[in-house]
């Protein structure tokens, strides 16, 4: 009798594992930069596990799929370059002349131009992605970091950490057309997909500024309050806005939480407890899940976007910083 049980049991579990092994249509790969271990962890969003660790240059931070999905670009700041990982082979195949100490970068809509923030130089460097050559630069404020592009592709945003401004740069003329003062130490900028608002996080100021991108004024400030937690620990960094523009997720750094904000009222509706020093985030392409990097606990938290619950934690390399997700 037990042999029959064993046989059916094996058949059942064997089939289950076989099914799990083949990637169903909505499985994605998340690439996570590990600032300290100089690696990139690749997470399979179906297994929710790391399937590969890629060795990269020194101090990897900004990380992004190219628009055509063929490469993952990762800024390796201490090597003063941006590496290109071929997504087919999952190996570093080339580098881009990024200027010194690149941290964050962003591509234009067509995926032809790369805008890179060079923190040590107070510049934004422009790179032609097809020729893989430097095209020019824009002088900005002290310690540029956050980068965003307006949905119509016309305006590039760069935030400077010590100047405390969001600079609006015309992508055609490459001139700064406006500067908006925000809270202390702005880190990240994100547009709503309808282009009606620009959100900028201020890490030391502890707020997120909502900016009218046409009038170039701050129209609102989102503040955070967590009972029992000292205000200084609330340091907003990464921002993720759902494509319907209704919900925004803000990583609050050493507060170890992600704030869920209703974009209409600008009020926090929930705080999600994740790992330590939550930093940046990315949605899966189907927008079902949001993955956030927890720098100090060396892991990635998986958030169910609809249910607003943290489902899982995945161990990655040391000091996970940025994350980018696409179909394999």
């Amino acid at each position: 009798m037990w042999r029959l049980c064993l046989l059916t049991g094996t058949a059942f579990w064997g089939t289950a594992f076989w099914l799990a092994g083949t990637l169903p249509a909505d499985a994605f790969l998340a690439y996570v930069s590990n600032e300290k271990s100089n690696t990139v962890s690749v997470i399979d969003t179906d297994q929710w596990a790391v399937v590969k660790t890629i060795k990269v240059g020194q101090r990897p931070r900004g990380i992004e799929f190219t628009r055509d999905g063929k490469f993952v670009l990762v800024a390796v700041g201490d090597d003063d370059t941006i590496q290109m990982i071929d997504t087919a082979t999952q190996e570093v195949v080339d580098t881009l002349p990024s200027g010194p100490d690149p941290e964050l970068f962003i591509q234009d809509k067509a995926g032809k131009v790369l805008y890179v923030a060079n923190e040590n130089d107070n510049t934004v460097t422009l790179i032609d992605l097809t020729r893989r050559a430097r095209m020019g630069d824009v002088q900005v404020g002290v310690e540029p970091e956050g980068m965003a592009i307006s949905p119509d592709g016309k305006i590039l945003i760069n935030t400077s950490e010590t100047t405390n401004m969001a600079h609006f740069i015309d992508t055609e003329t490459r001139q700064i057309v406006a500067n908006v003062l925000v809270g202390s130490r702005p880190r990240f900028a994100a547009f709503k997909s309808d282009g009606s608002e620009l959100w900028v996080s201020s890490e030391v100021g502890g707020t997120v500024s909502v900016i009218d991108p046409v009038k170039h004024v701050v129209t609102g400030k989102i503040t955070f309050e967590i009972p029992g937690l000292r205000k200084e620990a609330i340091q907003p960094v990464g921002i993720g806005i759902t494509p319907d523009d209704k919900t925004a997720f803000i990583a609050l750094g050493p507060a170890n939480r992600v704030a869920v904000v209703d974009t209409a009222s600008h009020q926090v509706v929930k705080y999600l407890l994740v790992g330590q020093r939550v930093w940046h985030m990315a949605f899966t392409p189907d927008n079902k899940f949001l993955l956030v990097t927890n720098g100090v606990s060396n892991d990635v938290s998986v958030i169910d976007v609809a249910a607003l619950k943290v489902l899982k934690t995945i161990q990655v390399g040391e000091l996970p910083w940025g994350i980018t997700i696409a179909k394999p």
Binding site: Q175, K215, H216
Partner: protein
């Protein structure tokens, strides 16, 4: 500021199109909140830097302060302020004055105030700082104390026209004591120098021990008997002297040295009779900044400083940088160089400054002391940052360092 690209082969049509774009750009510029003033000359903001005459000699060759110690930090901040100022049509200049030996700081401060300098960063001993502050008080000129750590300047001798950026001796001592207590190194052998400033530091350390639960098992005084600080082959004598000086102590965990005068503390590590760590003026040292600080984006700061000044950044450099940055932060927030607007903003509830120590720094309203974390460094690494976890406070955990509001003797006037 409109940056024009090179224009070649302009035809009439192109010129017309260019003019329309220029006009359009001008209109966008006028609409933009921050670019209103671009048509006019920039607002000039002059900041004075008043330096003490003498730079003290240190026992350690590598710690000997550079000739531009302190002011190098201010110079970098002026550059940073001017980068920001480009977008706000503000321009900053630094007026550097080094006092001559015996020169009256008050006279020099008055001279700066006469030239309409509204903000003066000062690295002066306490008495000279007070003389200068009182001399310029009625002119609306404000001093930024970047160098003096005396508690009395924030207590019984506080002044409404001084902002304190340097930490106090009590903040430094508390920062150290919190760590030693956290580490459970609660039994201290304290060795105090024979000069006035050494005794002041010892007072702060005694207070810190009592406050946080450490016990000073014994105190010894190291008399300064004069003589050259550095001699060619003096180390063989020191190697014999220090163990003998520290022998027969009651059981202790750490030797805490109060030696601001640089007479003996640096000779103690690895030479104590019992194998014990040294802290205070040598060994594990509390300070507002260290060249080894690499947390919270500090590497950016260190790189910029190194690039401009070709040397490592000291605590005094950082205190001066922060002072100049506070002025720049205020002028950007009020969008003006007017001294009253700037000072009102600094004294108001919205002021804070980011200084690469993981949280925003604010001014204590009762005595205008800048709240700040204290680093504990051993000369190569930052070992810890106080306040230590677990020391709580109802207003700000940074107020567990130094003399707190309910205890203050300061009445600002």
């Amino acid at each position: 500021m409109f940056q024009f690209g090179t224009i070649s082969h302009i035809g009439a049509r192109e010129l017309c199109g260019y003019s329309i774009r220029l006009l359009g750009g001008l209109l966008i510029g006028l609409n933009a909140r921050m670019t209103d003033a671009l048509a006019a000359d920039p607002t000039e903001i002059g900041i004075g830097y008043l330096r003490r005459a003498k730079v003290e000699q240190t026992l350690s060759l590598v710690e000997q302060p550079a000739a531009d110690d302190g002011i190098a930090g201010a110079r970098l901040a002026i550059e940073d302020n001017n980068t920001t100022g480009k977008f706000l049509n503000q321009h900053f200049t630094l007026e550097e004055i080094r006092l001559k030996e015996g020169e009256d700081a008050a006279k020099v401060a008055i001279a700066l105030a006469d030239r309409n300098i509204a903000f003066i960063i000062a690295d002066l001993p306490a008495d000279q700082l007070l003389k200068a502050a009182d001399a310029i008080r009625d002119r609306g000129t404000v001093l930024f104390n970047a160098g003096a750590t005396d508690d009395r300047l924030r207590e019984e001798d506080c002044r409404a026209n001084i902002f304190h950026i340097a930490p106090t001796r009590s903040m430094l001592a508390d920062g150290l004591a919190q760590y030693l207590v956290w580490k459970q190194w609660k039994r201290w052998l304290m060795v105090v120098g024979s000069h006035e400033q050494d005794k002041l530091l010892a007072d702060a350390l005694r207070r810190a021990a009592s406050r946080f639960g450490a016990r000073i098992v014994q105190e010894r005084v190291f008399e300064d008997t004069g003589g050259a600080r550095r001699t060619d082959s003096g180390v063989t004598l020191i190697q014999r002297q220090m163990p003998v000086f520290t022998q027969q102590a009651p059981a202790y965990d750490v030797l805490v040295a109060a030696d601001e005068s640089e007479v003996f503390a640096s000779y103690l590590p690895y030479r104590t009779w019992d194998p014990r760590p040294v802290a205070g003026s040598a060994g594990l040292i509390p300070k507002s900044w260290d060249a080894a600080q690499d947390q919270w984006g500090a590497v950016q700061m260190q790189n910029r400083f190194l690039k401009l000044n070709s040397r490592h950044m000291t605590a005094l450099d950082m205190q001066a940088w922060t002072a100049a940055r506070m002025i720049g932060e205020a002028t950007s927030r009020v969008n003006s160089g007017d001294r009253k607007a700037v000072v009102d903003f600094l004294k108001g509830p919205d002021f804070s400054v980011a200084a690469f120590k993981g949280q925003r720094l604010t001014l204590r309203p009762w005595n205008q002391q800048l709240r700040q974390p204290i680093l504990l460094a051993d000369g190569r690494m930052v070992v810890s940052v106080s306040p230590q976890e677990g020391f709580l406070h109802q207003v700000s955990e940074l107020d567990t360092l130094g003399v707190d509001q309910p205890e203050t003797k300061c009445k600002l006037h």
